[in-house]
Symmetry: C2
């Protein structure tokens, strides 16, 4: 096991009706900027609950943080927050609203353009953030990361700041989610675990078991959710699993990968494809191309998550990859670039970008432009 | 899944040589009370590393916090700390030193006798605590609980305060532990998980998977540690698993039990039997007596942790209980009261105490004096 320092300070407030905890979480007298996405919270009753529970606070609403939150939008939120002199941000929505709000909490204390902070990749100087999650997927509600896009240059980068002080997860708020968003959330959670797990065995037995426990849970609940997406216990397990998939709990002392995410981000930046959908396409390709490098872990994964116990190592690894692609396919997601009309031009552009930036990702830092292109061709 | 609020703020600092992180963790200028147990840290080099890394701080040493830390001892530490006007406590040792130090951090800010706080069961008013763990077992390094004894009255109670600000876990500090302490630590960790898991199924799939992951890890590493207790990776997995077994990570939204612990505490209070050893005796008895109540979960546990897939429900539950007792037995621990010379007199006294206190423990609050006596008789 590698040395590590772990700390996750977010207070997780989970369950039925827990939005009512709001007044206990935000200190009295705060001037709160409440951030939203496109308006689904007005249809599912979350907005009304938030407003009811924020009585007595001075609040300013900011609407319109889009999927893959854009600096162009966030600059407006920061300007509004500065004008209103806010000292707390409450993000109400999915991972994009929360990600965007993380940059807002930093941008409010920064004199220059907040894109500087994104390029720097980090700012610890923030006002406090609380969240109310409505879409299980990104884990942003219990980590310190965010991904911010810039539309004018088709760029998309990771940005790290502080952990939310609290996050309220009320599973019944997910009951009205469209099927496609649920599927993308399940895929996103699955790939988050895989990025921290699918490297090489024998680093930490306990971290492996936990990662496999999250994967097994997603494999178990995904078909059930398809049948019954208003089942509280199912959605509660989905919501909790999605949070645990990216809150540092399963990455203690182990090597991580993230090559699939870095390639997926480019597909979103270039074509606006939903994040979870890009991952469902890229992960199987990553595994096909890096099969030999990851063979031992693929076999362990195949056995413990998919029950694959026969065949030689190579056959078992192949079957584990096939099961993974089938899992995404059964969610109703595309698993090939051709399904989303992406071809060689995009592959060449991503190769060019990786080469230009001189980057190489993955557990071995070997996924450079050339290998990324090879992975993408394996997804055609 | 039940509603829950989760927060664990402890910074976990894990790995080789991590005691050197100490000066980054305790603010400069603090007057530190450093608490120790019986002196093993002078033999294994930990003491020297602590002193080296505390250069520049004003430190006061307190030695002699015993296994099952006693109010009689802790009062002296509190008096010394008040005299020296300390404003930070650093606990160096196993769970007993850390537990005792939790009461010290509260007692230092309390005017009266610290036993009042134990009887109250809770104090949030403490000075900060950091820990250096040398014995994986209790999880005290990453939770807010403690168990404090009073020898003159043979009492032993749980006490809750704040989480340690940081805990340093350096697995190499465990290389010199006696076999019996390692076995008790493995048993303690195992039973901590069981207390939060062995109730009824279908509360949370993901919490079940995580608990089973910890149990499976302990089952896998225990025989290996017997052969090779200076293996860094093995002891690292043991140390991390022991911490994760009791830091609230696996109890989100699920019903817990703790009857085995409450009975075990009485055996320690009356006979001084090591905590982990009492659990290895009581847990199989609890499972035998409550087999029908816990049958469904016993079958799930048998299948996922022990690979038991044949037989009817009752047979599978029986085999799972037998495997559990065998696990403790293979650790070299006693699994029967007769092995530790405890008999009917003690059983009657524990029954009397439970009745006198009008208590009833367990997932269904049905383990009262009568049922506790029945469980203990099943351990003879």
């Amino acid at each position: 096991m590698d040395n590590f320092i772990f700390q996750n300070t977010t207070r997780l407030i989970f369950g039925k009706g827990m939005i009512a905890e709001l007044p206990k979480q935000i200190p009295a007298g705060k001037r709160v900027l409440v951030t939203f996405g496109g308006g689904s919270v007005k249809k599912n009753g979350v907005y009304d609950q938030v407003i009811t529970n924020l009585k007595g606070y001075e609040i300013t609403e900011f609407w319109g943080i889009e999927p893959n939150p854009a600096i162009e939008t966030l600059r407006k939120a920061i300007a509004l927050g500065k004008e209103k002199n806010v000292d707390y941000v409450l993000a109400v929505g999915g991972g994009s609203v929360i990600d965007g709000s993380k940059l807002i909490t930093a941008g409010l204390l920064y004199e220059g353009d907040a894109w500087d902070l994104v390029k720097k990749g980090y700012s610890a100087n923030t006002i406090p953030l609380g969240t109310i999650l409505t879409l299980p997927a990104t884990g942003s509600e219990m980590n310190n990361g965010a991904v911010i896009s810039r539309y004018e240059t088709q760029e998309k980068y990771a940005f790290f700041s502080n952990f939310p002080q609290f996050s309220i997860l009320a599973p019944e708020t997910t009951f009205t989610l469209p099927d496609f968003q649920i599927s993308c959330g399940l895929a996103d959670s699955f790939v988050h675990v895989m990025e921290q797990y699918m490297t090489f065995p024998a680093q930490s037995r306990v971290m492996d078991r936990w990662a496999e426990g999250l994967l097994s849970t997603l494999v178990e609940i995904a078909p059930k959710i398809k049948e019954d997406k208003k089942n509280y216990d199912l959605m509660a397990d989905f919501m909790l699993t999605a949070t645990m998939a990216l809150n540092d709990f399963i990455s203690m002392g182990v090597t991580t990968d993230w090559a699939t995410h870095m390639i997926g981000h480019e597909l979103t930046a270039l074509h606006g494809i939903t994040h979870g959908q890009t991952l469902a396409i890229v992960l199987p390709g990553t595994l096909r191309v890096l099969k030999d490098q990851k063979k031992e872990k693929l076999v362990q994964y195949g056995e413990r998550v998919w029950g694959i116990t026969i065949g030689n190592m190579s056959e078992r690894a192949d079957l584990a990859i096939r099961k993974t692609e089938d899992f995404f396919h059964n969610l109703g997601l595309a698993t090939r670039l051709s399904d989303v009309n992406v071809g060689e031009d995009t592959i060449k552009e991503i190769e060019r970008r990786f080469n230009e930036r001189k980057v190489a990702y993955g557990e071995k830092n070997n996924v450079n432009g050339t290998l990324a292109a090879e992975i993408l061709r394996a997804c055609l």
